[in-house]
Symmetry: C2
Subunit: 269 residues, 2 copies
DNA sequence: AACAGAGGTTCAATATATGAACCAATAGGG
DNA sequence: CCCTATTGGTTCATATATTGAACCTCTGTT
């Protein structure tokens, strides 16, 4: 881990829940030395990545991030192309929808949209999604570059009793997703949360990310699952299109198959 | 300069004009060693600040910036509170409007809005504003913390023939701004561009940034200047309000005085 | 086939990061 | 009013991570 990486990592401790952090506090959270941390904060401040609240002496994220994010979005317009679709998805399903983007071997959260339909709802409060324990992650494993597999196996943390912590279990999940084109995580990351995800592709035909719905488990019924899957596929197509990509033929075929199957089950019951 | 700072500085070479940069190209632009630059890019990529376009192998800004910017805006909502005001300002003046924020001793560009009224228009393509050579910068010097002065004097680059490059000339400008509450830069940074700026304050009563209009010099008339000043003061009040601050009494008084003076001049001519 | 340019890698030299201990200032408690 | 426990910030010898010239490998051009 380079010193630059270590300094940058400090930024990840800031969140909407904890927007300002003091020096000592940050040292405790990050389990770092005070002198080092202080100097790293100075370095970050000098380039505008953080700034110090003059009143409290606490640190918070800085203005340079706004510019860079603007350039990023102008370069790779992901957020704009996802936001409206996400809102529709959240609205039609009544559950929290979110989009992740794959960069290298890491799956980053891009955008989240909660539905106002229910009082209780899932809140997505993670920055990087564990590949093995989330619907979006397994989706990436199923359709993303093959080197993701090794990365996933290196980190099989057990978040809940349902988390797949063995290669066998994970491969089984991945195989199922490859067949249906839709990923389903039954409380693998968080208890009480069911996740369903579909892949998004870029103009090169590679996996660009995933769109997912996080559903409170107690509300989860076969009917809702069907609605979510239907809407999810629409959203995945729309976002893929907005990002300038196209859904690969095999994926579209597996989607067609799995949706009719679901419908048959529905009508049978 | 710490190694982290050096790595972070690489990010500033990315812009909407040059969104993707290859390794060799970046080395030339930044005048850096290839091996070092490569490792720094790796470090930046590992934390999602940049990513490599798999097709071209070129680097571009990464997705982690989007999240951080989101947290920053949730923490210190600057952009939202400026955008609509800026649009109105650009619309009513017919010129390009922009907002800068002061962080430490650096003045960062936050947001820009061009007016569609004219074919030729000013484009704000800088990230950090020189304190001595821009209307916003002199505004910050006039009403910001006193330590800015020393920073400004350390860097009196001559951009045009009009740029104030001596302490005396700069002090003269600052004094004028302190009296009128409005800063005017007559082609100090870029030839053919007139800048007019007004200060913005935060809830602690300290200077938070500036709002400015960049006007193509050939269109600049006393009438337009008057319009710009009038609208600028409205914008400064609105943004200050949106950022939870208030305009200090003395500033409001100097504004009242300088606007009536301008009006007198207008009517006299 | 030879060449030029790209991205990426190696290793010794050395500049840079590190952290225990230390200061100064502030806030609360007895 | 002193004592203690915080805080943010600083110092300096030590040791570790950064550096860059030279090198490799691959790709497209002449």
């Amino acid at each position: 881990m380079s010193s630059a990486t270590k300094a940058l990592t400090l930024l990840s401790y800031f969140s909407t829940a904890r927007p300002e952090i003091g020096l000592s506090q940050l040292c405790r959270i990050a389990e770092r030395d005070k002198a080092t941390t202080y100097r790293q904060l100075q370095a970050l401040e000098s380039v505008g990545f953080i700034e110090q609240n003059p009143a409290t002496k606490q640190y918070r994220l800085g203005p340079a991030l706004m510019q860079l994010a603007q350039v990023r979005e102008a370069t790779v317009p992901r957020k704009d192309g996802a936001k409206t679709v996400l809102r529709t998805l959240a609205d039609r399903t009544g559950e929290t929808a979110h989009v992740t983007v794959l960069s290298g071997t890491t799956l980053y959260g891009l955008c989240e949209c909660e539905s106002p339909h229910h009082g209780t709802r899932a809140v997505i409060d993670i920055n990087t999604f564990p590949l093995h324990a989330t619907a979006s992650g397994v989706c990436a494993l199923a359709f993303g570059p093959s080197n993701l597999h090794a990365v996933a196996l290196e980190n099989l943390d057990e978040f809940t009793a349902n988390t797949p912590t063995t290669e066998a279990k994970l491969s089984e999940l991945i195989e199922a997703v490859r067949e249906t084109g839709i990923s389903h995580s039954d409380q693998c990351y968080e208890i009480e949360i069911q996740g369903i995800a579909a892949p998004i592709f870029d103009h090169t035909g590679h996996l660009a990310g995933a769109v997912a719905v996080a559903c409170v488990a107690s509300r989860f019924t076969p009917e809702l699952a069907h609605t979510i899957k239907t809407e999810l596929l629409i959203a995945a197509r729309d976002i893929t299109h907005n990002w300038g990509g196209t859904i690969p033929r095999p994926i579209e075929q597996s989607w067609a198959k799995s949706l009719t199957k679901v419908t048959e089950q529905e009508t049978a019951s």
